[in-house]
């Protein structure tokens, strides 16, 4: 049994529910015979991968949907063995080099080059080139991106790259200039509603508008999340009434608990408890930025309005530090220490923009 989100995933460009202009463009690109390198970017759950797969199907036909996974082991210059999972069909290959962290350059150099140097062997293939999809391209290190540059040009007869990223800001401009940038924006509310209704119809359900609205509010433009929440809601209350509160994810509940803790009491002891909570989230693979964002979001609802600007300021400050530093917990902890200090200050002295210095 499959989850609805996977069951009703569109497989052809014509099945897509929104961004129809984009679909048209992709279709004409695929049929032109001069398919460019692409950099597909947009927020999580907007439909990037779905569109990429649809485009590939347009390029090669249904054969691309026959996926298999390969695990490749290769050795880094420092003799460390690394496993890289490669998802591939006969016509394309999909890599996630950021899985191996700082060794992503080696993956790009080794695997990508190896693929690029061989030609398409299947004579029946519609296209002469193979497609390489690079997932999480914005997580690639600078070295890896530099390694990509030349490969893209040199072997363009054999391969086309489709890179998938959340934002283009972390991708170096030489790469950006070699790609066709394709932005997949998050769906608008009416577009999401269309998809939800479509799924409801297929499942022979009626989705009340209020429930749909609360689902979309919760999903915040993330189509994947919306469909998952929809199915969860269906499990919670089979009649899909909107009266029931949508259950939050385990980690979201945990984050708002930490936010409560921060607001409740500001003391070193409590900060230590917050630290334990942060460790719990971090060790269970919740990305630190997500933690900071979610807790801050929950906090903002609980504090005095006049404090909100300064909280957002500090959140941004420490988020940047997290990106620059190694040990995320240090910056998260510094953020919460700062927040507690700000809150305590506010409770005692009222609003005071200056930092009190000794």
């Amino acid at each position: 049994m499959s989850l609805w989100v996977d069951k009703y995933r569109p497989r052809q460009l014509s099945e897509l529910h929104y961004h129809s202009e984009l679909s048209d463009r992709l279709r004409s690109l695929a049929s032109s015979g001069d398919f460019p390198h692409m950099l597909v970017y947009g927020p999580s759950g907007a439909g990037k991968k779905t569109r990429i797969m649809c485009t590939l199907r347009e390029l090669y036909g249904p054969g691309v949907e026959k996926l298999k996974i390969d695990q490749r082991v290769f050795v880094t210059p420092s003799k460390r063995k690394l496993d890289v999972n490669v998802v591939q069909s006969n016509f394309h290959i999909e890599l996630t080099p950021s899985d191996v962290g700082i060794y992503d350059r080696v993956v790009i150099q080794d695997i990508l080059k190896e693929i690029a140097q061989t030609q398409q062997v299947d004579l029946n293939a519609k296209q002469k080139f193979k497609v390489v999809i690079i997932n999480e391209a914005d997580a690639l290190s600078r070295d890896a991106q530099a390694a990509l540059r030349r490969t893209m040009e040199k072997y363009s007869t054999n391969i086309r790259l489709i890179m998938c990223a959340n934002s283009t800001s972390k991708i170096i401009s030489p790469i950006r200039s070699r790609c066709l940038l394709v932005r997949v924006a998050a769906p608008e509310e009416d577009e999401m509603l269309k998809v939800l209704k479509h799924v409801a119809k297929k499942e022979r359900l009626t989705l009340p508008d209020e429930s749909a609205l609360s689902i979309m509010q919760e999903a915040n433009g993330n189509m994947r999340k919306a469909l998952l929440i929809f199915e969860a809601l269906r499990m919670q209350s089979p009649d899909l009434s909107s009266s029931i509160d949508i259950a939050k994810a385990d980690w979201e509940t945990y984050c708002s608990k930490i936010a409560d803790q921060v607001v409740q009491e500001q003391s070193p002891q409590n900060l230590m408890k917050v630290r334990t909570g942060l460790y719990e989230l971090l060790s269970h693979c919740i990305p630190p930025t997500m933690i900071l964002k979610t807790i801050t979001g929950a906090l903002l609802l609980k504090v005095d309005q006049s404090l909100q600007p300064s909280i957002i300021h500090w959140a941004a400050h420490y988020e940047l530090r997290m990106a620059q530093g190694n040990k995320k917990i240090y910056h998260l902890e510094a953020y919460f220490a700062k927040l507690m200090s700000v809150l305590k200050n506010f409770n005692y002295m009222g609003l005071d923009d200056d930092d009190i210095d000794f």
Binding site: K66, A232, R275, N326, Y330, S341
Partner: protein
């Protein structure tokens, strides 16, 4: 970046202390009169010395505008017989300095208040529990100024009570007697040697005389000759003796009679303890006293496996030759004779390494076969290298002898050698050498070569010179950095000293600081729970946390691609010293608060492990799911948990749960291990342990059984695993049997099916996938469930 860390005031000029005793009222006026107001000729020198001792604090205090107190030098031994306890922070002296002053003047300092305490010197922020106890015990509490007056007006030698005097005299008498006895013994040995030489000379043999006693090292000269003379560890030495005595009997009993203390089942003992406390000496002495002739092998002898087996020759049959040959054909080990009354002493066993490879293992073999007692000696029995000896030897842990034990013996020796030794000087020596008797003795004998007396200062400087270099662990570095007086006005540590502490272990100290800084109550904020100090305290912590965060950014530059190792001092300041500066102080919680080990390390490896598990789950799901790792964790897992985990926790659904869960698992190619990982990845209400405790054991077992009963699709095989399986030695007979039925030649129909949107229909038609079906033979279960399902996935 660091401008608000103060530079310690060390360059200020010393303020010379000019005592003006007349102006101050003596604290003990009612009972004592100021005895000596005059100063001897050497007083000026002394005063300068003391003044220099105080100068650092004075400079600080001057800066802070605290009224300067005169610091009197005091007369020698004027605090004799008094016991002090310091509590709180004094204005002019750090804790170490005040302790030193008292010790120099012959007094005693203890850390806790007891009935023996004479005075409690209370400074700023004295501990309430101490003050309470003082009241209970009726002990006199004095201020800092009164403490100085006490020093100023007490006569030389102090005023001892009758009892104390008596005790002192008695000790002195005992010491003199002992020294006399030693003298006599020495003469006797010398005479005996001379006599021997004469006899030998008559027989025409060249006299083999040992070196004259006067030219021997003190450590040899005063090595204990009777059990009574051994310092400390008396009980263990006695036990060693009884063990040696019982050895032949135990040998005959084939080590079957453990005896009262269990020593009867061991053919060897393992003595461990720090250096210089008499392990080797005790072993030799006891062996000799029990009639054994000790054979010593130490680190200077090669002790490889082969050599131990051959050279010691202890269990060799040729030992019989010795009995038969009446001593003519001698067996030897390291050039020594072996007979049934030999005793092998293996010194410095933990030094067996490198070239002595396999030494410890060979020792064990030797111990099993030995016919003579073996005494092994090492410094640390807990090292992994010593592990093989754990079960085969009787452990004996020698402790450092107590100060009193050592003092008595050393004073006697000093007296005999004509060295005038102050008790306080000896104490500092013992302390600085960490109760290493041998080292103290060597230091004294060197000193005696040029001088006849040793004062407290002499002892202190000598002790400092020959101080052993010890590597500090983070567990004692952290208290030194964030302890109550680390940055206080009387602290003597410069920033460089603190940086040295960081460099003791620069990768671990920052982690420890980060783990422990929140437990402090910053000393810079007054105690109290009013909102203002709470607020200020939080600001301190926030600043400390910011500094740690800065430190991490620097760490990134050091350990990142740039490798700017020259930034290490900056990292030290930012990650360690600056946070410590903000939050130094006592512990915020009452009671004993040990330094905790950084949780970061454990949490980080946990994160890595879970990330790996999540990666495994994600890549398997990848065939059906487009999301990345994070998206799977954040969006899929909550819903999927309610489909595949939660049904097991509900009583009413538990019975049907496996049937509803397994299709989902199969759809996403997840196996039982992935399910476990899935459960482990939850947080909060979905936390692994919480969920596991909510699933009844019976339900879980039923689920596992149901899962194992049928075969499941596999997304892919790990290259290595497959390889390892092929390498496996034992052929699995059930393997083929379990497969023959379903195995059909790979057809093209699976290609055609791939496009069918409904995966269930797909599964049904695909002959390569085994549909859930009950097992026939139970014996086939393990093989079949383990065996990879040969599913050629769409290629």
């Amino acid at each position: 970046m660091y401008e608000d860390v103060p530079t310690p005031a060390v360059k200020s000029t010393p303020k010379k202390s000019e005592a003006s005793p007349q102006k101050k009222k003596p604290v003990e006026k009612d009972t004592e009169k100021p005895a000596a107001k005059k100063r001897g000729p050497s007083k000026d020198e002394r005063a300068a010395e003391i003044a220099s001792l105080f100068k650092c604090a004075a400079a600080r205090r001057k800066k802070e505008g605290v009224e300067e107190l005169d610091k009197p030098p005091g007369l020698p031994n004027c605090l004799a017989g008094l016991t002090f306890v310091f509590t709180g922070e004094l204005n002019s002296m750090s804790r170490e300095e005040s302790t030193e002053v008292v010790k120099r003047l012959g007094g005693k300092v203890t850390t806790s208040v007891s009935g023996n305490t004479t005075y409690v010197v209370a400074g700023e922020g004295a501990g309430p529990s101490k003050l309470k106890k003082i009241e209970e015990l009726g002990i006199r509490q004095v201020s800092e100024a009164e403490f100085y007056d006490l020093i100023r007006y007490r006569p030389s030698g102090g005023k001892l009570t009758e009892k104390q005097k008596e005790a002192q005299e008695k000790a002195e008498k005992q010491m003199k007697e002992e020294a006399k006895r030693m003298e006599k013994e020495e003469q006797a040995t010398e005479k005996a040697q001379a006599r021997k030489a004469v006899v030998a000379g008559r027989e025409g043999i060249a006299a083999k005389r040992g070196p004259a006693l006067s030219s021997q090292l003190w450590t040899t000269k005063y090595a204990p000759k009777t059990l009574k003379e051994i310092c400390g560890n008396k009980g263990l030495v006695e036990k060693l003796g009884t063990w040696l005595e019982a050895w032949p009997a135990n040998y005959k009993a084939n080590w079957k009679k453990p005896g009262k203390d269990g020593s009867g089942s061991f053919a060897a003992v393992l003595i461990s303890g720090p250096p210089g406390i008499g392990k080797t000496t005790s072993a030799h002495l006891v062996a000799k006293l029990k009639g054994y002739s000790p054979i010593e092998l130490n680190a200077s002898d090669a002790r490889s496996k082969k050599l131990i087996q051959n050279a010691t020759n202890v269990d060799n049959a040729s030992l019989d030759g010795w009995f038969a040959g009446g001593g003519l054909t001698k067996d030897s080990a390291a050039g020594l004779e072996i007979n049934s009354r030999s005793c092998l002493i293996m010194d410095e066993v933990d030094g067996m390494s490198g070239g002595d490879r396999g030494g410890v293992g060979a020792m064990n073999i030797l111990i099993k076969k030995t016919r003579i007692p073996i005494i092994l000696i090492c410094n640390d029995a807990s090292t992994p290298k010593m592990k093989p000896l754990n079960g085969t030897t009787w452990p004996m842990k020698f402790r450092r002898p107590s100060n009193t034990e050592m003092r008595a013996r050393l004073m006697t020796i000093a007296f005999k050698e004509g060295l005038k030794l102050e008790a306080s000087a000896l104490d500092t020596l013992i302390e600085s050498s960490q109760s290493d008797l041998r080292q103290v003795l060597n230091m004294l004998s060197t000193w005696r070569l040029s001088k006849q007396a040793m004062s407290f200062e002499d002892g202190k400087s000598l002790g400092k010179e020959s101080q052993k270099y010890t590597i500090m662990t983070p567990f004692n570095i952290v208290p030194a950095l964030i302890g109550p007086y680390a940055f206080s006005k009387t602290s003597r540590q410069t920033l460089n000293d603190k940086l040295d502490l960081y460099f003791q272990d620069f990768s671990f100290v920052p982690l420890f600081i980060q783990e422990n800084y929140l437990k402090n109550a910053p000393a810079r904020i007054p105690k109290g729970d009013d909102p203002e100090s709470q607020m200020k305290r939080l600001e301190c912590f926030s600043k400390a946390a910011d500094a740690i965060s800065d430190g991490d950014l620097i760490d990134r530059m050091i350990h990142g691609q740039e490798q700017h190792w020259s930034l290490l001092p900056a990292h030290g300041f930012s990650s360690t010293i600056r946070p410590a500066y903000w939050i130094y102080g006592g512990s915020s919680a009452a009671g004993y608060n040990p330094v905790s080990f950084p949780a970061f390390l454990g949490q980080n490896s946990k994160r890595q492990k879970l990330a790996r598990l999540l990666g495994d789950i994600q890549i398997k799901m990848r065939l059906k799911v487009s999301g990345s790792r994070d998206e799977v964790r954040q969006d899929y897992m909550p819903l999927l948990a309610s489909k595949i985990v939660l049904p097991l926790t509900r009583k009413d659904e538990a019975a049907d749960a496996p049937e509803s869960i397994i299709p989902y698992l199969d759809e996403y190619y997840l196996n039982k291990e992935d399910w476990d990982a899935f459960v482990e990845l939850g947080v909060g209400e979905m936390k692994g342990e919480t969920i596991s405790s909510r699933i009844p054991a019976a339900t879980k077992a039923a689920f596992t059984r149901a899962y194992n009963k049928v075969d499941h699709p596999v997304a892919f095989h790990r290259g290595e695993l497959l390889f390892a399986g092929k390498k496996g030695t034992a052929p699995r007979p059930d393997f083929d049997e379990a497969f023959d039925e379903q195995e059909a030649p790979a057809g093209d129909e699976d290609d055609a099916d791939a496009e069918t949107p409904d995966p269930n229909a797909d599964l049904g038609k695909d002959k390569l996938i085994k549909m859930p079906k009950p097992k026939r033979a139970s014996k086939a279960t393990p093989a079949a469930s383990k065996a990879p399902v040969k599913r050629k996935k769409k290629d």
